[in-house]
Symmetry: C2
Subunit: 242 residues, 2 copies
């Protein structure tokens, strides 16, 4: 960790980088305690506030956690899926919204990845996954549902589908792709007719997963992708027109 610093500028990022690399390289294992802020300040030859800024950067990435008190300090955090999910989703969402990624591209990426989960989901789905999917389908048919709630339920349905694949790494990677689409989907106003269509496709997907027919799952997902794209295209056309 004791790397040289370019003493001239931007000390905090350099310190953060040094510690981060030590963690990623495995020199600091989970739950290991870092030296106190004062010690680090002395080691790196900077002041305590500078060290603190560096530590805050790491805390923002959930790489470390801090604890006050006598035996307190900064500890290397054991990154859990629960902590990694929101980060992944926030980053993906911003990436889409700030880079003017067109609806079509985002949609294609999402459904391409989701189709990849289909075979595993069909093979490994348990009763809980099937129940979760069915519950969302029911919710989506409820009258008086706002567009936003409909979208949220849509996301929940697809997450259940992905989780059915029984691979946590896959679930993690897909979370970004699926959730990041929600803001884009929220721009769409769903008519009763389009909701019906989507719910019907969701049912086909759920049934195919239940029947363990991967090809049918993929086919229904492809149809849903095309339908979603067409809805998005309509919105874009109207936006340009009006």
């Amino acid at each position: 960790m004791r790397t040289k610093l370019d003493q001239t500028k931007d000390l905090a990022p350099q310190i953060a980088k040094a510690i981060r690399e030590a963690i990623v390289a495995g020199d600091l294992i989970s739950d290991a305690r870092l030296p106190s802020e004062s010690d680090l300040a002395e080691q790196f030859g900077v002041s305590r506030p500078t060290v603190r800024e560096a530590l805050k950067r790491l805390a923002a990435q959930s790489l470390i956690r801090t604890q006050r008190g006598a035996t307190g300090g900064a500890f290397v955090n054991r990154l859990t899926y629960e902590e990694a999910y929101p980060q992944q989703i926030t980053t993906s969402t911003l990436l889409l919204s700030m880079n003017a990624v067109d609806f079509e591209t985002a949609c294609e990426a999402r459904y391409t990845l989701e189709r990849a989960c289909a075979p595993l989901a069909a093979k490994r789905r348990g009763p809980d996954h099937l129940a979760a999917m069915q519950a969302e389908i029911t919710r989506q048919g409820a009258p008086g549902l706002t567009d936003e709630a409909f979208c949220a339920s849509d996301v929940a349905f697809h997450r259940a589908l992905v989780d059915a694949a029984g691979n946590p790494v896959l679930s993690y990677q897909l979370a970004g792709a699926v959730e990041a689409m929600q803001p884009l989907m929220n721009m769409i106003t769903f008519t009763a007719r389009s909701r019906e269509e989507i719910i019907a496709l969701h049912s086909r997907i759920a049934d195919a997963v239940s029947a363990q027919e991967p090809a049918a799952v993929e086919a229904a997902l492809s149809e849903l992708e095309n339908y979603t794209k067409s809805l998005g295209a309509q919105v874009m056309a109207e936006r340009r027109g009006g």
Copy 2:
């Protein structure tokens, strides 16, 4: 942004959260300038160092960038793929290493996602993608290559394959899955025989992409997945034995 703060504790995270939500919600658009640190401190009723810590957290997530000088300050960052990539990779890598994700699960996730790119890659690959893949294959056959360099080239090959799909969102999502595997792959000692095998499969993949035959790409990827898994299983068995 002017949300209430629980004045009692952990002010910096609260401020960071308030600003982050304003950015994610779109209240602060790209390149918008935040108030100066002094102004923010006054607005939130805290001291400047506290505000600074909050800003550093956001900077660590690349949500803002800071600039010194007269017209300087903190600006909402337009998150680019270049900035998002390393974050995605770091998080994915740590998630795998810290959660004792077994080789098999990680491998399955990676190749499942990669197969999903196959149809698009076969359809859209350009001469540059084909050249990149071919270049890595050549490098992998070079004598005297270390295991680490071989793995790095392997990653580069697969990234070229993913990029061939021509969907930046897909490339971004896959980066985590592919790169995060590298530390796990580095545990494997590649024999001349196994390198030969892998290079042959890479060639099959490249040829199938070149010939625009998605099914052949998927088949070769599946074989590569199985072969990689068997290599990993060997390492695990030896480790348990010795």
